[in-house]
């Protein structure tokens, strides 16, 4: 009985893993691939590992450790990747354009750079004056 429940849990998990992969194939750019990749693999692997744990209760401790590890690290690695992708977006843009309706981060960064430039310009002007 336990074995059947665990096997069906694992089956549900594997379906989410497959959805993640379909998302990786179908989504148009790297941010959206991260979206589906991270979310669906997290729940998919949780269900799969718990399924194995239900089938073999003596392994449950180790599998729960593994689940906790996946839940903590998966978002962190996708965050690191997303940040890297945004920082090198000009370089990536030659191969693949990310579709963004609005980009508040780029806007804020542009505003910051503009503010810095006007600061240094003003500083130079004063230096010349002296």
């Amino acid at each position: 009985m336990n074995g059947t429940i665990g096997a069906f849990l694992a089956l549900g998990g594997s379906v989410f893993l497959l959805l993640a992969s379909i998302g990786l194939i179908r989504m148009p750019d790297y941010y959206n691939r991260m979206q589906t990749g991270t979310k669906a693999t997290t729940l998919g692997s949780i269900l799969f590992l718990l399924g194995v744990g239900v089938m073999r209760p003596e392994w449950l401790g180790k599998l729960l450790l593994l689940v906790g590890f996946v839940v903590l690290t998966n978002p962190v690695s996708s965050h690191a990747l997303a940040r890297a992708a945004h920082r090198i977006r000009d370089r990536l843009g030659k191969l693949e354009k990310a579709v963004l309706a609005v980009d508040a981060l780029a806007d804020d960064e542009a505003a910051e750079t503009a503010a810095d430039r006007s600061d240094t310009d003003a500083g130079n002007g004063e230096a010349k004056h002296a």
Binding site: G3, T4, G6, A7, F8, A10, L11, G13, S14, V15, L17, L18, A20, S21, I22, L24, I25, Y30, R33, M34, G37, T38, T41, T42, G44, S45, F48, L49, G51, V52, M55, R56, E58, W59, K62, L63, L65, L66, F69, V70, T73, N74, V76, S77, S78, A80, L81, R83, A84, A85, R87, I88, R91, L92, L95, E96
Partner: protein, 87 residues
């Protein structure tokens, strides 16, 4: 019954691994490949646990744990490298 269902589940996970591998091969950017690699390691983690069940040897779970640690560090290292190395 349980074994058959679990075998099907493992087969679906294996298919997912192959599809993610396809995205890794297609790219087109380094970030896409790394996203695919990240997904593949999580799927592989589940498959290692499945193999532990099929072979009945719990030692494979330790393999999965260490593999997960190493691949997490690897993906973060690649992300850091992309940030600094391609500028």
């Amino acid at each position: 019954m349980a074994e058959t269902v679990f075998l099907v589940a493992s087969g679906i996970a294996l298919l997912a691994l192959v599809l993610a591998g396809l995205r890794m091969a297609l790219g087109p950017t380094a970030v896409d490949r790394t996203v695919a690699l990240d997904g593949m390691t999580i799927i592989a983690l589940s498959l290692i646990a499945a193999w532990a069940w099929f072979s009945g040897r719990g030692i494979y779970l330790d393999v999965a744990l260490v593999y997960g640690l190493a691949s997490f560090a690897g993906v973060v290292a690649i992300a850091r490298y992309l940030e600094g190395g391609l500028k």
